[in-house]
Amino acid sequence: MAENILEMHSITKTFPGVKALEDVELRVEKGEIHAICGENGAGKSTLMKVLSGVYPYGTYDGKIVFQGKEARYHSIKESEHAGVVIIHQELALVPHLTVAENIFLGNERKGRFGLIDWNEANTQAIELMHQVGLDENPTTPVGQLGVGKQQLIEIAKALSKDVSLLILDEPTAALNDSDSQHLLDLMKRLRDEQGITSIMISHKLNEIEYVADTTTIIRDGQTIETLDMSDPESNQDRIIRGMVGRELENRYPPKTGRHVGEELFRVENWSVNHPTQPDRIVIDNASFDVKAGEVVGIAGLMGAGRTELAMSVFGRTYGRHGSGKVYKRGKEIHTRSVAECIQNGIAYATEDRKRYGLNLIDDIRHNISAAGIHKLTSNGWINTNEELKVAQEYRVAMNIKTPSVLQKAGNLSGGNQQKVVLSKWMYTDADVVILDEPTRGIDVGAKYEIYTIINKLASEGKAVVIISSELPELLGTCDRIFTLAFGRITGQLPIDEANPEALMKLMTQERTAKPAAASAGEGK
């Protein structure tokens, strides 16, 4: 039996009124990849914060043994010094600084007179990037690289600190499939070649199955079980059972009660240019349509222009408008501002709830009424009693888990925040609902609830468009799937012809020699 690099014994962490962790046990063997999974709010991140000293020694009960010695970290600095490096979900890179500057930030390579030796730094940066499979100029500003590469820079940064235990908090949450694959392979390589132990927090069960040697499941602040992933019994269904404490028969509710009707919404020959580089075409002559009672998916890899397409249609909130027309029930409508879209019954729930979807410092009530406030207004005055009633009705109908709608939206978990966003748009009475990554960063149980809501919208005769990077999700919820590649719609498949291979082929289809000339592409 290999030795344990880390042992956490009966860790208990309480916040005023809440027991976040209770007698949690974690044992990580040296040189393994150890996955930690559990629903949102189960206590995974809290556990990692205890380990890395974000919550200093003394603020929790229990014992941490790292590399055979008891660890008492009072800050991240101390835990990093000991070789524990945590990479958070939100990347902590400075976009305007170069790759090398970022890698050595807070850990600068000093030469003579205490001045920074940039030649040395850049040379080492190239070496570190090489280790993570990157071939970039170390003087490139990090902001110019894609999210996937930035994630790798974070790992390079960790390597520069002589890491012996690497903690990755949902490392692939913002990555597309190929970047995710690359990252997972890198984790394996670091394990095999350099003996680096990794702890990975993830929601993505197929990734856990692919990369992890051991999986510890946490639920409601307690360790449920630790699975040896070489055991064939330890499959995805097994993990789900541990996470939710119940059998989850189907991850997607049955598509019952849908009656696909007439065409409700159509975008035709839509072209958009980049906001700051007017010559760059981001969306090229894209057309799609959705019928009443139908759920249509838009599949595309990261950078294909999914969000850009949606946002440019939704009140021209992205890019420079090129050309194209929007029809509703066969009649041309204009979508020049968000207000105009709301009037026309179009809703768009954004990809990044925290940044674009919610006012986190305001209460749930005001967030729910934000887009449909005109319905609560007469003579310029808001009927605040009615507003509260509406919010309470949605709390019940959407099962938003909160003691009161007067709580701040920022206090909710990801799944409940998404329900607030959906409530906001449902209250506008929109019949065209565009959902951008509706289940990103949401745990399995809440995902199921969101899918149920999508089903309900469709069965009420609304037209639903789902943008997602998770193909199983689209296959599980949609009636028809469009594929987007490099800003162009490359095809559409009815659900019974769609499968991951066929979609992926269309999603990676490169521009043909002569792009289809924009027939309606007149003015700019």
């Binding site: 939704f314 940044r355 979807g357 919610l358 410092i361 305001d362 934000a370 005055w381 808001i382 019940v396």
Partner: protein, 409 residues
């Protein structure tokens, strides 16, 4: 709409908090709001003690109201600017400029007093529109736009007044700032009219509080326990009537207090009950989310700056009336007092949070401290140090509170 309403019976048992829960709420979730009231009361008591009672004499209370009214008017506009995520550094100069235009028309050119009043407010609105244009439609940060405005309108003031002070205003003009409503109902040594006006106001307040409570209960909202609610009403009524007694025994009801009260009521409603007010909180809280929820951000920003200009014009009238003239250096540093009042009153530095009543209390805290220190005879330099420290500590308390709230998640 497809939600299932599950309205419970009005007045169901869970909507009224227990007394203990209400008190706990005041010290936990509502700490920031209760905190500022507690701080205000503590400061009043402290300075009453230090000044051996002079602070709360009728004459001194009247003085405080007359002296700080224009800062409070500015604080109302400023807190809205700050909630929207902006700042306005120009208001002191705008106060001076609008007062100067008014003085030139009335004192130099002999126009009627009301022309001067309208002109000052008109100048304020024009300045607000000018700054609103740059902030909202050109996208220049308000900090820069109003820094430029601070210089430009100060310069314009000197130009308008040709570098000299003008005075005095006709009596009607001055009365706005230093006049009183009294004697209308006579009274044996004290002014009955003042007492009656305050009594009506208190009655109206109690009535609306009961109505709001009834509405809250019927909508299944949590309300404070009845005994506490009564205690609160009685306390407010007692303090207000005691204040009116002080005023009635001095010179009666100051005109500026009437103006100020109307502004506070109107702007409390604007911020809490209108779409414009809601939009201000939305863009201050999360600009992108507001844009994507259909808020017309540019027009809201324009409105915020326009309104600040309007209130600066009003403050210009009040200041001109009180100082009975216009000086080139008038209104210097007013913006800083107004900004300090907003932050002491609980506005967040990042925008999205704040209250009109909070800014008023914040302004009153500043006013009480300044006045109290003057009465004790402390040096100006010491006064500034104390005021600076209080501002710093108030915001530090806010930051500490947020961090505590954040850590408990």
């Amino acid at each position: 709409m497809s939600t299932t309403a599950t309205a419970k019976k009005p007045g169901s048992d869970e909507s009224t908090e227990s007394i203990g829960a209400s008190i706990r709420a005041a010290f936990t979730t509502n700490l920031r709001q209760s905190g500022i009231f507690i701080a205000f009361i503590a400061i009043v008591i402290l300075f009453t003690f230090l000044t051996e009672g002079t602070l709360l004499t009728g004459q001194n209370v009247t003085n405080i109201i007359l002296q700080y009214s224009y800062i409070l008017v500015l604080a109302i506009g400023m807190v809205i600017v700050i909630i929207g995520g902006h700042i306005d550094l120009s208001v002191g100069s705008v106060v001076a400029f609008s007062g100067a235009v008014s003085a030139v028309l009335v004192i130099k050119n002999g126009m009627p007093w009301w022309v001067g009043v309208l002109a000052a407010i008109g100048v304020g609105i024009l300045v607000g529109a000018w700054q609103g244009f740059w902030v909202a439609f050109v996208g220049i940060p308000a900090f820069i736009t109003t820094l430029a405005g601070m210089l430009m309108f100060r310069g314009a003031t000197y130009l308008t007044l040709e570098n000299i002070s003008l005075s005095p205003f006709p009596a009607e003009y001055a009365r706005i700032g230093v006049g009183f409503q009294n004697g209308l109902l006579g009274g044996p040594g004290y002014d009955v009219f003042t007492l009656v006006v305050f009594a009506i106001a208190v009655a109206a307040y109690i009535f609306t509080q009961f109505r709001q409570r009834a509405a809250a209960v019927s909508y299944n909202q949590h309300v404070a326990a009845m005994p506490l609610f009564i205690v609160k009403l009685v306390a407010v009524a007692a303090v207000v009537m005691w204040l009116s007694w002080l005023l009635a025994n001095n010179r009666g009801l100051p005109n500026v207090l009437i103006i100020l009260t109307i502004l506070v009521i109107v702007y409390t409603l604007v911020t809490t009950r209108t779409v414009f007010g809601r939009n201000v909180y939305a863009i201050g809280g999360n600009l992108t989310a507001a844009t994507l929820s259909g808020v017309k951000v540019k027009w809201v920003n324009f409105g915020i700056m326009l309104n600040m200009g309007f209130l600066a014009g009003v403050a210009g009238v009040l200041f001109g009336a009180r100082s009975n003239g216009a000086q080139p250096g008038a209104g210097n540093m007013f913006e800083l007092d107004a900004i300090a009042a907003s932050f002491i009153g609980g506005a967040a530095v990042t925008g999205g949070v704040g209250k009109v009543t909070g800014a008023i209390i914040g302004g009153l805290i500043m006013a009480t401290m300044t006045n109290g220190m003057q009465l004790i005879g402390w040096d100006q330099s010491l006064q500034n140090i104390v005021k600076g420290l209080v501002l710093l500590l108030a915001v530090a308390f806010d930051v500490y509170n947020k961090r505590r709230a954040g850590a408990s998640r």
